[in-house]
């Protein structure tokens, strides 16, 4: 945050002129603080602790109070790492997570991204009922030894910089929900490109990229989890862990706006300070209340998340597996085993033992609730601050204008607020939505 604050406004402006510019220095700074390995288990050299979700939430809150664009650049990377971790694809951990940790150490950032949204499927790919009837662009066709991916993803945060990308795709566009699968795609795979980035209204320090897949061959070993579990075990699981932190992002933006507003309120102009007026005081109290509401929501979600994920990460068998010397896991035989159905079945059995579907479903509910409530509060807070400042010529006003633009995205990404409301309703009041960790030896859906 100390790094972000002085640079944020300038970078925001520069992006208007050069939408394609990416400030790698942000990521190098992030390396210094080990922000890139916050989702990576300690045993692999990462900085994840048993309070992984809480830490991520607090980090996002803090970074976003500086600049949410830069925070997003860091957060989008962790979002990319998340499916690799939550799917328990241990066979890839040493290589990829190891590379990230190593890059972090050498201040040569290696990043990931998570690609869900497609040009004609935004909300549709975030919820099972909707996915069932989605019109998709990307399709992964089964071929000998793997899959051929064709189509597009869009608005992928960090997608233009990431070296590894976790990609959701249907094996059959006509049966999207049934065949929805998570793939690990590497930037240098043939046929993969990111042809375009958008100029966003805010959070500009991180790119929203279009990804183009032209006959990209992805080998069998690069399926994360099982064929067809990309929604119930993939997206929903990740969203259960990541929507809370989005609430934290919104809170951070709101807090940033609030701090600038408070400074403004305490600054004398024409001999008096705005805070000397009662109406400003009341507004300050209101805004502070919103921030406290937000913190309560995302933190109670984060603590729940840690109690769930903590169980797995501290499970003896997990600790044992991860404590083996790296060469044992990366040995071809072991690695093939880990990437095989038997290996997956083993991991699966462990996950099912430690993580109950009901717990993770409840986590999804609280995360979705924190996401939309925090985002709405943030938007309201920024809007109100601007209304109170009015046509004021101060750097603080420019800051809050940026926060206003930034905050809007939190109502949209990771499922629109409308979708998140539906999730809360469907989980809590109608019990029609459930996260499911598949049984071991779940069958493929195509072959």
């Amino acid at each position: 945050r100390n790094y972000a604050l002085p640079k944020a406004l300038d970078l925001d402006r520069r992006m208007e002129e050069e939408p394609e510019y990416f400030d790698w220095e942000i990521m190098r700074q992030a390396c210094r603080y080990r922000f890139l390995s916050i989702f990576i288990p300690k045993q692999l050299g990462g900085s994840a602790t048993e309070l992984m979700v809480s830490n991520t939430s607090l980090l996002m809150d803090e970074l976003c109070s500086g600049c949410s664009g830069m925070a997003l650049a860091i957060g989008a990377h962790s979002l990319g790492v998340a499916p690799l971790v939550t799917s328990g694809a241990i066979g890839h951990w040493d290589r990829i997570l190891g590379e990230i940790v190593e890059g972090e150490r050498r201040l040569e950032p290696v990043t990931m991204a998570y690609a869900i949204t497609e040009p004609s499927a935004g909300t549709d790919v975030e919820e099972p009922e909707f996915l069932e009837v989605a019109k998709l662009s990307l399709e992964a066709r089964r071929v000998e030894g793997g899959y051929l991916l064709n189509g597009r993803k869009c608005f992928i945060s960090g997608g233009s910089e990431a070296k590894y990308i976790t990609v959701c795709a249907a094996l059959d566009k006509n049966r999207p929900l049934e065949t929805w699968t998570t793939f690990l795609v590497e930037r240098d795979m043939k046929g993969f490109s990111s042809p375009r980035v958008e100029l966003k209204m805010g959070q500009r320090a991180s790119h929203a990229a279009e990804l183009l897949f032209e006959d990209v061959f992805v080998p069998d070993s690069h399926v994360l989890g099982y064929e067809g579990d990309g929604m119930a075990n993939g997206i929903l699981m990740v969203m259960a862990a990541s929507r809370g932190p989005v609430g934290a992002i919104a809170t951070g933006i709101a807090r940033g706006a609030f701090e600038h507003f408070l400074r403004w309120a305490k600054t004398k102009r024409n001999g008096k300070r705005p805070i000397d007026e009662d109406r400003i005081r009341m507004n300050l109290a209101d805004m502070w209340g919103m921030i406290q509401e937000n913190r309560g929501l995302y933190m109670s979600n984060a603590l729940l998340g840690d109690s769930i994920f903590g169980k797995v990460m501290s499970a003896p068998v997990m600790i044992l597996t991860l404590s083996l010397p790296s060469f044992v896991r990366t040995n071809k035989l072991t690695n093939d085993f880990l990437n095989s159905r038997y290996g997956k079945a083993m991991i699966n059995a462990i996950m099912r033992y430690y993580i109950k579907d009901d717990d993770i479903t409840q986590l999804l509910e609280t995360a979705s609730l924190a996401k939309f409530s925090c985002a709405d509060n943030a938007m309201e807070l920024c809007s109100r601050a601007l209304n109170l400042m009015g046509p004021d010529d101060s750097e603080e006003r420019r800051w809050v204008e940026k926060c206003y633009r930034d905050a809007k995205l939190t109502q949209i990404y990771e499922g629109t607020n409308q979708l998140n409301r539906l999730v809360v309703n469907n989980v809590r009041f109608e019990e029609t939505l459930k996260v499911e960790i598949p049984r071991p030896f779940k069958k493929g859906v195509v072959s």
């Binding site: 608005f155 958008e198 100029l199 209204m201 009015g390 046509p391 420019r398 949209i412 409308q418």
Partner: protein, 354 residues
Amino acid sequence: MIGIPWAKESKQYAVLRSNAMNFAGSELAPVADELENTVDSPTFWRVVEKAADMGMLAALVPEKLGGEGVDPYSLCVALEECAVESAGFAASLLFHNAALVPLAYTERKDLVEEMSSGKPLATTATAGTVSMEGERLSGKATFVFNVLEGSPVLLFPTSSAGQEVVYVKTDYPGVGVRKDPYPLGWRVSSFASIELSGAEPFFALREFQREAKAATERIVYLGLAAISVGIARKSFEKAYEYARQRYQGGKIIIEHQAMRMMLARMLCGIEEGKAAIRRACEVDDLAPAIIAWRRAGSNACQAAMDGVQIHGGYGYMRDYGMERLMRDAKYCQMYPAPEEEGLLRIMEMVEERG
């Protein structure tokens, strides 16, 4: 025009609206994005010229001084229609026209002619704090638009005598211009703050200062309300169109109730704004103008924000034209004064009248 049936407008306004709508559709719409990204461009001046041909550069000035002499509601109609395509351009027109309002209290046909000739446009600086002592101006005016080389700027300094109404030019000695190329909204217009250190006005009103200021302010509030309605209309139109062609959840999204509710609220917001403006134009008083501005501005912000939401990710990206509406709308709400100060003024006016 999509929407609910408009309340009938008298023929005079209906004709005006249709003309303004044509102007906006044929002249502004095709270049709106270009205007947004470049300031003071030839395209901008070409559109200004067309606006001049339509009498939009001296709309309120009495005919005897060479203006069109239309009433405030007519100006509102024109601004609303322009704002549908480019709120920034509409704002430029508004600040220019408002700047000429005090001339109605003079006989200075020459000044009218000079200022309404086109390039540069005049402008009105109501925010900030400026004072005048012995014909010398000092202080700072903020949120000034239309600021180019030599733009005439209307200012309302305070002096020991009370309220003053004066004009300076931006290239005068003692006038410092600090441009800001990245305002949140109204990018079309040239946004700046103006520092005054001993500058001399080229014209100062000697009587009716209070009345002139009040009349100018009323026009600013009414005009901003009209621009807000234009933004809300455009937001609704874009969102409605998008919602009828975008599929999610197996149906066009307008069939999802969450979208329908937002769209319906936008429509209500538009009507509320229009109703408040109409009423405020009927009575020559500042309070109803502030009320109309407040309601229309707030509704426009909500409409644009919901429009972005309905567009989802596309709404957030510059290339799809929706996010500009959200940014432009906010300035309608933030200018010319914080909402709460507007409310305090209303209370003061009520108390003054007992």
